[in-house]
Assembly symmetry: C2
Homo-oligomer: 170 residues x 2
């Protein structure tokens, strides 16, 4: 299921790209600077929208690296504008486009660790289910919530995107 869920991450990143376009159009229609959105927070001690987008992107990129063993490029988290954030989102979609189901073979049994874990580690399966999936959707939904809270016209269909429904029997 790794391939299927990463494909879904890719689809959700495409939806996120569209929300940011919708936010930009809204700002233009209301005659304010769209990049103000990048600075907004839901609480003074919660990260602003730009960081929410960056962390959503990094969660997917880092998980793809851990679970495939492929090197992933470092990114600087220096985006300040909505257009730059959209470029960041698209860079992750491009990375995912370069992965195949074969790359995820054995993903669940991989050893995942980070320097700040001081030798502790997680299996790829645990890391994916307990960290990557909930963390990605956390930062994705927080971004959506920030836009909705600030007047951007989005709905659940914009969040989920098109579902793979199959036609009724004739």
């Amino acid at each position: 299921m790794y391939t299927e869920i990463f494909n879904q991450f890719k689809k959700q990143l495409g939806q996120l790209d569209k929300w940011l376009s919708t936010a930009t159009e809204y700002a233009k229609a209301k005659n304010f600077d769209p990049d103000v959105f990048a600075t907004l927070r839901l609480a003074p001690d919660q990260l602003p929208l730009a960081r929410q987008v960056q962390i959503a992107c990094d969660t997917v990129k880092l998980a793809a690296g851990y679970l495939t063993g492929k090197p992933m490029p470092a990114q600087e988290d220096n985006e300040k504008t909505i257009a730059e954030l959209q470029a960041r989102v698209r860079s992750i979609i491009t990375l995912l486009d370069g992965l195949t189901p074969k790359d995820f073979e054995g993903a669940g049994a991989r050893v995942v660790s980070q320097p700040r874990w001081k030798g502790e580690w997680m299996t790829g399966a645990d890391y994916f289910v307990e960290h990557a999936v909930p963390n990605f959707y956390f930062h994705l939904t927080t971004t959506y919530a920030l836009l909705r809270h600030n007047g951007v016209n989005l709905g659940k269909r914009d969040y989920l995107g098109v579902q793979s429904k199959r036609p009724a029997a004739a």
Copy 2:
């Protein structure tokens, strides 16, 4: 991976239960009615917290029913208080406790449909990846966002819960 992700849903519902307790304590400390939280919205045209919790619960329950073929109890969505919402959350944890890995055998190949889909259907695998997972985390994170936005002291560890880290080699 169905079993693992439903176990994670169960863990996340346990975290949600704790957030609601933290919100109740916060309201008591600030001397306001905790049940006000059930009515709060991030936008006037977004559903209030009570509905976010109910839909998070229903997303898990309905997906468990579709993917195992087991009947799931109807629930009335009549919760008005935080304590009632916590009972709803716990009812889903109890339902999940009654499922075994064997119940999810063949889940991905099941036919999922609803009356309002007028004969259209999704595979269990597509329904799970494209609807159940993103929709559950959407309503879970929106609930978290509502609480954070309104002053409840929660952080990312409260969202993710304890991760299954394994000890460093001696």
